[in-house]
Amino acid sequence: MNHRSPFTTPFTRRGLLVSGAGLAAGVALTGGGALAGAQATPGASPASSPVATTSKVAERASGEVRVTGFWGEPELKQLEKVWAAFSEKYPNITVKAEPIPSDYLTKIQADIAAGNVADVFMVQNEYAQDFMSRNVLLSIDDYMSEDGISKDEFYKPLIDAYTWQDKLYGLPKDWSPIAMVYDPDAFEAAGAAVPTTWDELHDTLTKLKDNKGSVQFALDPQMARYVIWLFQAGGSLTNPEVTEIELNSDAAKTALNEMYGLYKDGLSTPSADIGAGWPGDAYGQGLTSVAFEGNWLFPALASDHPDRKYAVAELPAGPAGKGTPAFTTSYSIFAGSKNPDAAWVAVNFLTGPEGAKIASELGLAIPGRPDLEAGWLELFPERKPYIEAGTYATSVQYGPGGQKFQQDADAILQSLWAGQVEPDAAMQQIYDTAVSDITLTGQ
């Protein structure tokens, strides 16, 4: 697949959305199902600078809107500019931000149960389907058509992540796929090339290890990383109709053997074994030269290890081509909100060209809107591979019951790494767990 420059003509940008849909089974995971659905409206404005519109709904909306999320300190500070811009544009509506810095999922569940959760809250792709299937979120299709917001303004895999039974329940605030972050100096010293296939990855890691004398790649046994190899082997969690689990496929077994093989061959190590909290920490400390991480790595590096050099490249491709998981968060409206109109205006602004632009300047994640791509890349040119991964990234969603499945699958992977079970048996256990934990309702 050729690398597309982000500074493309509008047609190619639309092409970016359509090809994202075309990529194999993974998209079905996200519950959207409509592979053919992503047609950009022919008349859509192709401007490379985002066009800001004024919400029609805002004309009848007023009052207070409570917004909550798990923003960290830097993001909260940045958001103050967003709130200021919002009050200027819509003086009738007051936004009250109520951050929940830790135990976010626990707290909003308690608030939802009590009926007093904020009107607008952040929903991550991991549990979005659990919420959508239980009617906790308000569908926004009507608001979108009233205000002339098209789904094409956002990357399709992200829209799919928040679509349930053909209705949309949130707009993506930002996202990040996983790419390869590496130390160019270490690569040069070892004479290693940036790998583009699984075999080249083995070569590169071996050269790095021989040069430095220790394993140079930290990889933890987690489902959230296993999916990298799964997608690259052409596998998927479910069939396109989302009625059957497909983790017993040959591709799934190949993927697990490849990922576990790196550990068995001494080319990867869990981060705890080398004294790091997570692979990003291992890279930042200089213990490793390669990390498979998302955008979240860079603010952590900037604050804890600002002198660490890095370069970014796309992940090596597997037998079925390139693949990478996408993680995203949305702003969604609570189904029981007392002020849904104002809540929609807030969501629209936060994810619209003005609000999202200010928020994305922090570089914590990639904006969910293609029209902000160019500006973002001007700020962070070295992160281009993340944008390019957007053409083949697949949103990671397991379906209702997915949280439990992820915990159980992580435990199985941990016992595989501990040598307590063989890879094929582990794969079978993961499949059985998926079948029992996840409730597939079909799309």
């Binding site: 999922l105 659990d130 906790v136 705890a272 004294g275 992580d410 435990a411 016992s415 307590q420």
Partner: protein, 329 residues
């Protein structure tokens, strides 16, 4: 004039029994109300909830009868959590009881710096469990202080490092004599769980020391003198006098110990969330949290909580049989 004088001279009569009782109730009313609202009522509600299904984020609570309880037999998580919790309790309670008695006897001696030692041993018990857990999280790192000391004295630290190691310790011991792959129920607590147990013992032995100290001081010195006159040595005095006279305190400490260890949650949440590695640190208390707040199954979590309550109650009765309360505590 006579009337005024008689009023002055009239003595206040003693309160009747009824007035006493009413006054008593009024004084404890605030405490009763608080405890009822925040302790008794939630327990009743949880019992009720255990017969329903509830995902927390939706208001519907359909009745499911005994299904949540029946699920225990099919659910590997519950068996795992029960097993881990059992190992945790069996490992922690005897050791912390014994160390409590040991430290109390030591701290009861008339040595210099006795006050300092009592304070030092007691200090961890009054610190926040969360703070201690975070500190131990750092101590147990691959390059943390514990491994550093181990390497210095010539031992090689466990690989993977402590909190990431799912191997059962009994299994590891049996491996050295060539017995591999023993039934998981007998593989013992994992190294990760053992790390948390050691931290728990270190934290709690001080508070049990204080309880035993109080118990020791209840034993009259004359008994020891009499025994010494009869020719009993220190060891005979310890096992013949100290332990038997401490029986009610031992019963109290062991009960508290089991209640506390069966409900362990804080340290697991900080040091090994998710029951990592490989669910070997998943305890019943953590299972309740996980099912209720992460897996959208609050009804099931309530059932686990009720079963936990039943188990602890059963242990209390078994203990009472075996150790006996001795005298009234």
């Amino acid at each position: 004039m006579q009337l005024a004088m008689s009023r002055q001279r009239r003595k206040p009569r003693n309160p009747t029994a009824t007035e006493d009782a009413i006054a008593g109730w009024i004084f404890i009313a605030p405490a009763i109300i608080l405890v009822s609202v925040f302790v008794f009522w939630p327990i009743v509600q949880i019992f009720w909830l255990s017969f329903h299904e509830w995902s927390v984020i939706t208001p519907e609570k359909p009745w499911v009868g005994l299904q949540n309880y029946r699920d225990f037999f099919h659910n590997p998580d519950f068996k795992l959590a029960f097993r881990n919790t059992l190992w945790y309790s069996i490992g922690v309670v005897p050791v912390q009881t014994f160390l409590g008695i040991f430290l109390a006897v030591l701290a009861n001696q008339k040595i210099r710096g006795r006050g300092f030692f009592r304070t030092a041993f007691y200090f961890p018990s009054i610190s926040s469990t969360v703070v201690i857990a975070v500190i131990f999280l750092w101590l147990y790192q691959q390059n943390g202080l514990i491994n550093f000391v181990l390497r210095k004295i010539g031992f090689s630290p466990p690989q993977p490092p402590w909190l990431a190691n799912p191997k059962g310790v009994i299994q590891m011991a049996l491996d050295t004599v060539g017995i591999h792959h023993v039934n998981p129920w007998f593989a013992g607590p994992s190294v990760a769980l053992l790390s948390i147990m050691m931290m728990a013992i270190w934290t709690s032995m001080g508070s049990y020391m204080v309880i035993f100290l109080a118990g020791l001081q209840d034993i009259p010195a004359e008994v020891y003198e009499a025994a010494a006159l009869d020719g009993a040595n220190a060891r005979q005095q310890f096992f013949g006098i100290t332990i038997p006279m401490l029986r009610p305190v031992i019963f109290f400490v062991v009960t508290l110990g089991f209640i506390g260890t069966f409900q362990v949650f804080d340290s697991i949440y900080i040091m090994a969330p998710g029951g990592a590695p490989a669910k070997t640190t998943l305890t019943l208390g953590y299972l309740v949290y996980q099912q209720g707040f992460q897996n959208f199954a609050m009804g099931y979590a309530s059932a686990v909580a009720i079963v936990l309550f039943a188990i602890i109650l059963a242990i209390y009765f078994v203990q009472r049989r075996i150790i006996g309360r001795g005298d009234q505590l």
